[in-house]
């Protein structure tokens, strides 16, 4: 009994009416958006009512696997969670590893499109072509780890669970959704959207096989790529110590976000070798050849580089074990680490500057106070006292005054995720300024320039000569354009960026590999140019949604004032800041490359194309 199944099966779940409709994505749409983040954006544009309130039943929540998710292609455990962000009011999109994405596909669904709102807590149970909307009142209120353990107890230990914690239930605007101990669809407050729909969890168990067009070819290709990737130095280091390896590098440069970016160097106690004293074992996600996840000795997983800086240096906590403890707490409560750390540091600076006082804050806020940070994190998740205020995230700028936005390290309403202070690396600065979901490094992170690569090599890589000086404003738009395009394609594939060309290393998987893997997995042939066009189309689609929802244009593609006005205080990067004139020139070039006008608007033909595709009907 050989199973056949369409390339992309979507389940449209209406929680208000408790109905489930199955729709297949036509091949034309797959050719234009591929899968993962791309198709999620397509369906968000299709289903979202313009100007919908993100926490109302009108918001659309999409969990979509990539076209390679679950196949044997290396590091294909990823899916994207997409909605309108309650934190920033523009697109909310977050990519998550772990095992749920593949399991959804094995259960027969490539994408869940969740509409409406359930009248009481529910979870979705997916098994072998069936979706049930089940009562979740027994699980409401539990921490992420408790929720998952409870599901394992109730439904069998082999189910895969993605859930929200108390933060999501309490509609904290930067709550995340979590798989396992630490995998998170972290950014953009997707967890609050789950909470607003009364959706506690998605649970999947898939016994069906996922068709692979050429199984033996796929096995051979996997072995070839594994051996190729294993030769990469950075993949080997990531497998040994994980992302904290970057801490030392940034700290040496003097570009670690410390005390809300007022300082840029911090203690050596957060170096990878110190963190590693608390690590029991390195583990991987589905189909992983890197294994960068730490199982720590304090009962959790992590920390990542992002966590150790945002819950360490940025709030002044230097003790390794205490930082890891905060990491574990934030993970269990279901909060986004990047946003939480940024808002905590911002609140402390608000206190220092007199916008908050002991009475309004309920306690003294100061950098380096672990006990205060811990209490405040719980208060945010359970919305108590000042925590209730902070849970509103970047919207608080309106409450405390527009000038407070100058020292909130956020763009388009989303706090910066990368712990790297971008005042030194100009290309990186342009990347986070133009990123479609707000200040984020996973959209375009162009950090190869710090590697001092020979010009001949970078010319080949980017297709034209690129200035090797990381502090120059020249040609950086080319680097950002290249990176954001390939990362968009990677997100459509469902592959982890750690094995992707241009993220940490100039080698690793590139368009040719994606073409080959897509052919082996699905039989679909894409050319390199077609894939690049898909990347651009996805970015343009996001730009269009952002414009529709919040009028995003050139004025929003900017940086926190601190990055322009305050020079970096220490070490090698001392004196660096972003020059407004240089920045504007980069932005002009960036728009030219993207084919947008100088105000950052899409050309009319593109809008018409996207509208035409949106209006195509599903089968």
């Amino acid at each position: 009994m050989e199973e056949t199944r369409p390339l992309c099966v979507n389940a449209v779940v209406n929680l208000t009416d408790r109905t489930v409709d199955i729709v297949e994505t036509p091949e034309e749409i797959i050719r234009n958006f591929v899968g993962g983040r791309g198709l999620n954006m397509y369906y968000l544009y299709k289903y979202l009512k313009p100007q919908a309130d993100p926490l109302s039943p009108d918001n659309v929540l999409i969990l979509g696997s990539g076209i390679l998710t679950g196949t044997l292609a290396p590091n294909t455990g990823r899916h994207s969670v997409t909605c309108k962000s309650p934190e920033s009011g523009i697109i909310g999109d977050s990519n998550i590893g772990g095992f749920l994405g593949p399991e959804m596909r094995f259960a027969g669904f490539d994408r869940l499109i969740i509409l409406g709102k359930a009248d009481k807590p529910v979870y979705l149970y997916l098994e072998d072509g069936n979706i049930e909307i089940r009562d979740a009142s027994d699980y409401w209120g539990l921490l992420c780890s408790e929720t998952e353990a409870r599901f394992h107890y109730d439904l069998g230990s082999d189910v895969e669970v993605q859930s929200i914690g108390p933060a999501g239930e309490n509609l904290v605007r930067f709550a995340c959704t979590r798989y396992g101990v630490k995998n998170a669809a972290g950014r953009c407050g997707t967890g609050a959207v789950w909470g607003s729909k009364n959706l506690k969890a998605v649970v999947a168990r898939g016994n069906r096989g996922l068709p692979v067009a050429d199984p033996q070819g796929m096995i051979n290709k996997y072995i070839e790529l594994r051996d190729y990737l294993k030769e990469s130095k950075v993949i080997n280091v990531l497998g040994r110590v994980g992302t904290p390896l970057l801490y030392d590098v940034s700290n040496y440069l003097g570009a670690i976000r410390t005390h809300n970016s007022q300082q840029t160097v911090f203690f050596d106690t957060l170096n990878a070798e110190e963190v590693h004293k608390h690590v029991e074992k390195m583990i991987g996600c589905y189909g992983c050849v890197v294994h960068c996840r730490h199982r720590n000795t304090l009962g959790g997983e992590g920390p990542e580089y992002t966590t150790e800086v945002l819950l360490g240096a940025n709030i002044g906590v230097a003790d390794t074990a205490r930082m890891i403890d905060l990491n574990n707490i934030v993970n269990d409560l279901g909060l986004d680490v990047s946003s939480t750390g940024t808002y905590l540091a911002w609140a402390i600076e608000l206190f220092e500057k007199g916008y908050l006082n002991e009475e309004t804050a309920g306690r003294v806020l100061r950098f380096g106070d672990y006990d205060m940070a811990k209490k405040l994190i719980y208060d945010i998740a359970y919305r108590k006292g000042l925590g209730d205020t902070l849970a509103e995230g970047s919207r608080l700028v309106q409450k405390f005054g527009p000038e407070t936005a100058d020292f909130l390290i956020a763009i388009k309403g989303l706090p910066q995720s990368d712990p790297h202070d971008v005042r030194y690396l100009k290309g990186f600065a342009l990347g986070i300024a133009t990123s479609s979901r707000g200040a984020d490094h996973l959209r375009s992170r162009p950090t190869l320039e710090i590697l001092d690569l020979p010009v001949s090599f970078t010319t080949q890589l980017y297709g034209e000569p690129v200035d090797p000086n990381p502090t120059s404003y020249e040609t950086k738009s080319t680097v950002v354009h290249f990176s954001e395009t390939i990362y968009a394609v990677v997100d459509c594939m469902g592959i982890c960026k750690f094995v992707c060309h241009g993220f940490n290393s100039p080698r690793n998987l590139n368009y040719d590999h994606f073409r080959e893997l897509t052919r082996l997995a699905t039989g679909l042939e894409f050319s390199k140019e077609e894939l690049k066009k898909v990347g651009r189309r996805v970015i343009d689609q996001e730009r269009l949604i952002n414009y529709q929802e919040k009028g995003i244009s050139r004025k929003d593609d900017t940086l926190p004032a601190r990055y322009f006005d305050d020079p970096m205080p220490s070490a090698r990067a001392k004196g660096s800041h972003i020059d407004r004139e240089g920045f504007n020139k980069m932005l002009d070039e960036y728009y030219d490359l993207a084919g947008w006008d100088r105000d950052g608007m899409l050309p009319r033909e593109r809008i018409e194309e996207l509208n035409r595709l949106r209006d195509l009907t599903d089968k």
Partner: protein
């Protein structure tokens, strides 16, 4: 009398729980991807913090062989490899008696599946695809002559 047999062994400290072995096994034997359809399985619990590799030991006295009511499980006297075939009726008795959790269920076909050490190929595909070298296929000298476990038997 025990036959010295080349076996698949695991070094658990190297297992990262990626399930590539099981997925490659499924692709080889079923032609579709899904680690649950593999003859090898990785049982992982992120909260209890373990990875356990469900490997068939090709027991000297296989409890699955004893338990099978249709007699579709056989042990090859020469190679020592224990195999089953498609006469399986899906009663899951073999699954219940296997002390290592190594008899797998294909719930779509309603048949038990088990490791045959990829005897038609050059070597077991799980070993070949393991990204960390946790799985090895080797002759070990220190294998006990007497079976470590002689399980429930109907004889």
């Amino acid at each position: 009398m025990a036959v010295k047999q080349k076996q698949i062994y695991c070094r658990p400290s190297l297992c990262i729980g990626c399930r590539i072995c099981a997925n490659a096994c499924a692709l080889t034997h079923e032609g579709t991807a899904n680690p649950r359809l593999g003859r090898i399985g990785i049982r992982q619990n992120l909260f209890e913090r373990y990875e356990y590799q469900e490997l068939c030991r090709h027991c000297v006295e296989p409890p699955c062989l004893d338990a099978c009511m249709v007699g579709c499980i056989e042990k090859d006297e020469e190679t020592g490899i224990v195999t089953n075939d498609d006469r399986c009726v899906g009663c899951w008795m073999c699954v219940m008696v296997c002390p290592y959790g190594s008899m797998k269920r294909n719930l779509v076909k309603q048949m038990a599946v088990k490791c045959d050490q990829c005897q038609d190929l050059e070597g077991p595909v799980c070993v070949e695809t393991c990204p960390t070298g946790a799985l090895v296929y080797e002759d070990r000298e220190d294998v006990q002559e007497k079976p470590f476990f002689s399980g429930p038997s109907v004889t």
